[in-house]
């Protein structure tokens, strides 16, 4: 991991299109401003990792799901209701 120390209002530039700016400090919280191209989504890491973990869990779907429709009443909104 690259470690840099910045003061409030200072920035770092990643590649040529991403900039992270320290906007302010409050206690142990740091406010960060991020400029990145639209096609690069920016997320809190724990949120990103929760989606990765859920995808991995989901990829282990049991092989035999023939009973899927018979046993389960999906909590679906009925069309037109």
């Amino acid at each position: 991991m690259l470690v840099l120390t910045r003061k409030v209002e200072e920035s770092i530039t990643i590649g040529s299109r991403i900039t992270v700016t320290v906007l302010g400090l409050k206690g142990n919280q740091v406010r960060l401003g991020i400029k990145a191209p639209r096609e690069l989504p920016v997320n809190r890491t724990e949120v990103y990792e929760s989606i990765v973990e859920e995808n991995i869990n989901a990829s282990n779907a049991p092989v035999d799901l023939n009973k899927l429709n018979e046993k389960i009443n999906l909590n679906l909104k009925k069309n037109g209701a």
């Binding site: 995808n55 990829s59 429709n69």
Partner: protein, 143 residues
């Protein structure tokens, strides 16, 4: 036509035009970029997203719009624009279902991280609606 091997469905022959390309893959599976949507059973609310490159990799999907009323309307304008990058044709929005082993009745759907499929150029991506307040483990069984 392309022959693909799958663990759950055996060997399949599918039209090349059915293959959907995910340039970034699906989160956690960045190497697998090509998938095909398979029906689960006629009239089923579920379908499968089967990897073309990895026979063992497949996800169950369902329509989040049927699970949560106002799924798209409830999003901020910014998050709505994540779903519709193209502004041309309405994207197909699906969400991945997690089925705990041996506990089918405890299945959940990932409303926070839907898959957005552009049917015109056959591409797909997973979007994170982090500010939506939507649950990545929304229970969908009513048993």
């Amino acid at each position: 036509m392309k022959k693909i091997e799958t663990e759950r469905f055996g060997q399949l022959e599918i039209e090349e035009e059915r293959i959907i390309h995910f340039p970034e893959g699906i989160l956690g599976f960045p190497e697998q970029k090509n998938y095909v949507v398979l029906e689960h059973s006629p009239g089923s609310a579920f379908c499968w997203l089967q990897s073309v490159d990895n026979p063992g990799l497949a996800f169950v999907m369902a329509d989040p719009l049927q699970v949560k009323e106002g799924y798209v309307e409830g999003l901020s304008p910014e998050e709505k624009s994540f779903l519709n990058d193209n502004n041309n044709i309405d994207p197909i929005i699906m969400a991945i279902v997690t089925i705990p082993r041996g506990e089918v009745e405890k299945m959940t759907i990932n409303l926070m991280g839907p898959l957005v499929i552009d049917s015109e150029n056959r591409t797909g991506r997973q979007v994170i609606l982090a500010n939506s307040g939507y649950d990545h483990r929304y229970p969908i069984s009513q048993n």
